[in-house]
């Protein structure tokens, strides 16, 4: 299987021990990492400010739109990153490294008993999570017109709801590849899956997602169901 990143992405992760030609963004990360390793906390602050939205968004989608848990997971990921950054050897991209930490934190949450119990007890999953993710979107997005904005918002809610309904192992791959646009090499490094398993799970998730997105009735039913639960207990 030939693997290539999507357009505009960094592509193959750097080989261990080598310092490949870095994109400007990565060079910026390297400079801040070295700043932090030389004892200046400002370097870490800059890294957080640059990567917080993507890490938070990843956590939000992996955790099916649970804003509180996503924020907690993203904070925990950066705390772990802070502890490991002094020994970070620049053998991988910082963003890939942080993604791996964030995915692991989210996996721990997903497999925790309390998370599963909480998830089962809440009947409204897809619709509320989709709204939550949508609400967490950047407010600066331009909308040509109110009608178009409404349509786009509905479409995004539908997609986010469908993503949140995917099984955990499929959702993780769909989010990393199709939403975040990570390369297959990065995903394999992050998830620890072999390429065959990864591709198989990803295609199953994609197929399921497309089925749900084709059928517009399901999201509407879910939204209606959620409304009823909220209103009538």
């Amino acid at each position: 299987m030939t693997q290539s990143p999507r357009a505009g992405e960094g592509g193959v992760a750097p080989a261990a021990g080598a310092m490949p030609d870095l994109a400007p963004a990565d060079a910026e990360d390297v400079a801040w990492i070295r700043e932090f390793q030389s004892g200046r906390e400002q370097g870490f602050n800059r890294l957080v400010l640059k990567h917080k939205d993507r890490v938070y968004g990843l956590c939000l989608r992996l955790l099916s739109g649970d804003v509180g848990e996503a924020e907690d997971a993203a904070q925990e990921a950066f705390v772990r990153g802070y502890k490991g950054l002094r020994d970070f050897r620049l053998e991988a991209k910082f963003s890939s490294w942080m993604y791996r930490i964030a995915v692991n934190v989210c996996k721990n949450k997903l497999t925790s008993r309390s998370w599963r119990e909480a998830r089962q007890s809440v009947a409204l999953d897809a619709d509320d999570s989709a709204v939550a993710v949508e609400g967490a979107h950047a407010a600066g997005a331009s909308a040509p017109s109110p009608a178009q904005e409404l349509d786009a918002k509905k479409r995004r809610i539908r997609i986010e709801a469908a993503i949140a309904r995917l099984p955990d192992e499929q959702r993780e791959l769909v989010v990393l590849r199709d939403v975040e646009g990570r390369s297959y090499e990065e995903i394999a490094e992050t998830t620890g899956l072999n390429p065959g398993t990864m591709k198989s799970r990803l295609n199953r998730g994609r197929g399921q997602l497309r089925e749900w997105l084709k059928d517009c009735i399901l999201p509407l039913l879910l939204i209606a169901l959620a409304w009823m639960v909220k209103e009538h207990g």
């Binding site: 299987m1 030939t2 693997q3 290539s4 999507r6 390793q37 030389s38 004892g39 602050n45 957080v48 400010l49 917080k52 939205d53 993507r54 890490v55 938070y56 968004g57 939000l60 989608r61 996503a70 924020e71 993203a74 904070q75 925990e76 950066f78 705390v79 802070y82 502890k83 993710v133 967490a136 979107h137 950047a138 407010a139 997005a141 479409r155 995004r156 997609i159 986010e160 993503i163 769909v174 199709d178 939403v179 646009g181 591709k199 295609n203 994609r206 197929g207 997602l209 497309r210 997105l213 084709k214």
Partner: protein
């Protein structure tokens, strides 16, 4: 019509994954299959939809919340981390090289490095008054060194004056006491004048490896007090105390700084070993070199009973002494009387075994007492009595 493309193949096609050959085959099929084109369009729409999802935005105070959760190191941990920062960027080979270099230099200095050898060319020391306090008059040793060189040859004559350092008053005392001692020596034994001149010529400093015969130090046999160079900082000079030093530098048989000065036993109990009369370290109180001398403590001085050599005539004395010099043995006259001259031989351990046979070639020789075993590099002080028919 060939087989339709499945969803995975269409996804790969939409992502641009297939190689040129597979892509050409897919293009050929898609050109003639409307169903696969519709499926491909749906997949491409899926990718667009997901790629168009806007990134979520973390709360505005996200950074402050993260920092609030960061572990707070103790002040000691922060201080330790700050100390280690400079070393974080030192390449390992450089760090290893520095450690090896520092270790090598330390070992070299401890084993007596350059300052130990620097003693050798230093300072031929003539007998000087030990009662002189080197710094009592406030003269710094370095300030008076030119005066030493100027005064030395003119007043002392054959006595080398290249003292390491010392105040002018000390040098005057040295010159005066040397002259006094020479007068005493002259009055006690007029026959020793020629030998003294020869000794003076031979007392020019020699390199340790020189094969030239060492000189006698006979002319410097006066009982004078120890001449101590400028004391090391924090170290009290030995003021007199009856200790005598004698210069045997330029003997060529030792590069040991401890051998530059040796003890004159003439005023000390005869049975007291030399090394117990004055510690070598005190004798060699050259600034900064006491430690180097201490590292050569292997050069022990041992005094044994001596040889008695019966000569046919007193004139044979000169030949015996000349031969001793050629062996690297210094002979210091101790006393002279009718029918007997007494000398103290400064014998390198390497020459100890040859001393007896050499003396036996000049006359009847016998050893009073026994010769101890001498460690390599040590120096022995041995008495020699030359007996000849009295006039």
């Amino acid at each position: 019509m060939d087989k339709h493309l499945d969803a995975e193949a269409l996804s790969d096609y939409a992502e641009g994954l297939p190689d040129a050959h597979a892509r050409a085959a897919a293009d050929a099929h898609l050109a003639g299959c409307a169903q696969c084109r519709r499926e491909l369009a749906a997949i491409q729409a899926y990718f667009r939809d997901l790629a168009d999802l806007e990134p979520a935005r973390a709360p505005a105070d996200f950074l402050s919340r993260v920092r609030a959760r960061l572990p707070r190191p103790s002040p000691w941990e922060r201080a330790w981390a700050a100390l280690l920062i400079p070393f974080r960027f030192i390449p390992v080979p450089i760090a290893v090289g520095v450690i090896i270099g520092v270790t090598a230099i330390t070992v070299y200095m401890r084993q007596g490095g350059p300052e130990t050898r620097a003693v050798i060319p230093a300072p031929a020391v003539g007998p000087v008054s030990g009662s002189a306090e080197p710094s009592a008059d406030g003269n710094s040793p370095t300030a008076t060194q030119p005066a030493l060189k100027d005064n030395g040859p003119a007043e002392v004559g054959s006595v080398p004056t290249a003292l390491p350092a010392g105040p002018a008053r000390l040098q005057k005392s040295l010159s005066k006491s040397t002259q006094d001692s020479r007068k005493e020596a002259a009055s006690a034994s007029p026959q020793r004048q020629p030998a003294a001149k020869k000794g003076a010529e031979a007392r020019q400093p020699l390199a340790p490896s020189s094969s030239a015969p060492p000189a006698s130090v006979g002319e410097a046999d006066a009982n004078v007090s120890a001449a101590k160079p400028a004391p090391a900082p924090g170290r009290q000079p030995s003021a007199g105390g009856g200790q005598k030093l004698r210069d045997v530098e330029a003997q060529g048989w030792s590069d040991n700084p401890a051998s530059v000065y040796i003890l004159d036993n003439s005023s000390a109990p005869a049975n007291l070993p030399l090394d117990k009369k004055m510690p070598v370290e005190e004798q060699n109180a050259v600034p900064g070199q006491a430690e180097a001398a201490a590292s050569h403590s292997a050069a022990k001085r041992k005094e044994v009973d001596g040889y008695v050599l019966s000569l046919r005539t007193k004139a044979d004395t000169a030949a015996v002494l000349a031969g001793l010099r050629s062996m690297g043995v210094a002979a210091e006259p101790e006393s002279a009387s009718s029918g007997e001259d007494r000398y103290r031989l400064i014998v390198p351990a390497a020459m100890l075994r040859e001393l007896g046979p050499y003396l036996a070639r000049h006359g009847q020789s016998r050893l009073e007492g026994s010769l101890p075993s001498a460690a390599s590099g040590s120096v022995l002080s041995i008495r020699l009595r030359l007996i000849f028919p009295a006039r």
